[in-house]
Amino acid sequence: MTFRITRRAALGAGLAAALPLPAIAQGAVAKPDRIVVNASGGAMANLFRRTYNAEFEKRHGIRVVDTSPVDFGKLRAMVESGNVEWTVTELGGQDFVRAKQMNLLEPLDLSIIDLSRYPAAVRDSHIFPSSVYSTVMAFRTDVFPNGTHPKGWAEFWDVRRFPGPRSLRNHPVDNLEFALLADGVAMDKIYPIDMDRAFAKLDQLRQHVTVWWTTGAQPAQLLVDREVVLASGWNGRFYDIARRGAPVAVEWQGGCAKQNAFGIPRGARHTHWANQFLQVMTTPQLQAVYATELAYPGLHPDTLNFVEESVKPHLPTTPANLEKQFWLGVDWWTDNGQRAQEAWNRWMLRRG
């Protein structure tokens, strides 16, 4: 018991030192024996261990414990109960703006995290831009060989020229955008989304979508099993199965690029080390390893320089790919997500 109290007191002192007085803080911050990094788990956790976690342990001599999964509800519960287990956490999907709005995040210490070379659009006071992923169209190369596959969502919708069952995500994000693109809306005119128009367009495709997928592994598996011939999905999943020999390829045209984010839960212990961990995550060489394995590149501009040429066509941030895609309108989804989801549920529930 006494041990606990003294440790807490020491930590409290460490925090107090870290926040207002950065000049002293550098030398004075107490080192915990471990920090906890919460992220998606699975293949990603293995890579984190090999890259960022290993580098952080080497640089600072503090052990990194990884946990998963990413859970927005749990983040809120932790912050509100004042019992924050995570030092740093990934923030899923479109949650990061709301996490900031709901005051669930500590501000980043940008004197520790150097984002000066990052694109201005992703620099933020609370949200760390970790990597980029994209929801793209994938197809079976044996069904659509030699470039005969649909190039863009208008052709994805064209079931006469491109017959066969399709799969889309059971979620309004991406699909409303894809429907508008299929209906002839320009990429820079998608937002604000005209939901009636989007759902009307989705009506046309409805009976040809045999599976509305729920988990990220599903669309890749559906293509491998020949359950569908066309699917939307996260680019890294298709990269993974294509690398292992599946006859599956990706069309970048109309892909929806998104930023993956990390943050420091409000009330987290060791915020100094949380910031130090995020600084390790800005290392372009490590981001390149991560990008090569998962096809989810970080946003440091030098990252692509450390990636093999053969990998570049598979990354969403390669300039040739990037110009075919649009960025998800996170602000629109933050304001309209719940309304859109309920409209989506209602639409899914209709028979036929």
Binding site: M102, V211, Q218, R226, E227, E342
Partner: protein, 288 residues
């Protein structure tokens, strides 16, 4: 129990001491239930009226979406319960009558699925039931069908998946109830000239009803809360109320509305439970 009562009147002290010991032994479990179940449940209920109004319940009750999905969940729960009952009863009867080896073998296959995660089993069904899955390919090779049967990504797929998971929960209570029936009762009935079906209908079935009730209640209640199986095997076309609650909790952090939906689900579950109890309880009395 009657033996214990008799003992009470003669020598009250050791029995009361025994009761006290038992209560003491049960205290940790009661505390766990109290702290980890009753308290959070109360918090949940209070969350649903946290705005000081019933506005969350109004939304749940008036919105066609939630009413439809709740009804669909109950429907799936009832269908699964009936299918499980029809499949499980013969299995339980066989388990009671079979040899020791048969019993061990049966129990092994019955309990084996408990060591495999529901997620893995759900993916296994996708391999079996898919368009080019094992079943459809076999049927096509046999020349019985031309186009693949729609076994997956619809309600049928969901029912198959859930029944598979829930079957042991039905077999085991029924088996336990059948085991308690004195075999002499049946032999007596048959000795008095009752045909096998009548002996079953008048003796075995009524006496096994407590097990049937327990199994049905377990299966129905657990099915109502099913989440991952309908999400994966339904291909998005089957929606259950637990999926909508999860959406509110994790995606929109609208915990007050999620609490209201959960409360509605709880009340509906208790109501169906009570109905089941009255149905089988009444029949049980009539049989005695």
């Amino acid at each position: 129990m009657p033996a214990a009562r008799v003992a009470t009147s003669v020598r009250p002290d050791p029995v009361r001491a025994r009761e006290r010991t038992l209560l003491l032994l049960a205290t940790p479990a009661l505390l766990v239930i109290g702290v980890l179940f009753v308290w959070p449940l109360l918090r949940l209920l209070s969350m649903s009226v946290a705005d000081g109004t019933l506005v969350q319940f109004e939304k749940a009750a008036l919105d066609v979406l939630y009413v439809t999905v709740l009804w669909e969940s109950i429907e799936i729960g009832l269908i699964v319960t009936v299918i499980c009952l029809l499949l499980a009863y013969p299995v339980a009867m066989w388990l009671v009558q079979t040899s020791r080896f048969g019993f061990i073998l049966g129990m092994f296959f019955l309990l084996l699925p408990f060591w495999t995660s529901v997620l893995v089993r759900t993916y296994a069904w996708m391999v079996l039931l898919g368009r080019s899955g094992v079943i459809n390919r076999a049927l096509r090779d046999l020349g019985w069908i031309d186009a693949p049967l729609p076994l997956l990504h619809n309600r049928l797929g969901v029912l198959i998946g859930i029944v598979h998971v829930m079957l042991p929960y039905m077999v085991i209570p029924i088996y336990a109830a059948l085991l308690r029936i004195d075999p002499d009762l049946r032999r007596a009935a048959e000795g008095l000239g009752a045909p096998a079906w009548r002996a079953f209908a008048r003796i075995t079935l009524p006496l096994s009803l407590p097990g049937v009730f327990a199994g049905c209640a377990l299966v129905f209640v657990i099915t109502l809360g099913f989440f991952i199986t309908p999400a994966l095997l339904g291909g998005g076309r089957v929606m259950m109320i637990s999926m909508l609650i999860e959406q509110q909790v994790r995606e929109f952090l609208d915990w007050n509305f999620a609490a209201a939906l959960a409360t509605v689900l709880l009340v509906v579950t208790l109501a169906v439970y009570a109905m089941l109890g009255r149905l089988t309880g009444g029949a049980g009395h009539a049989g005695r």
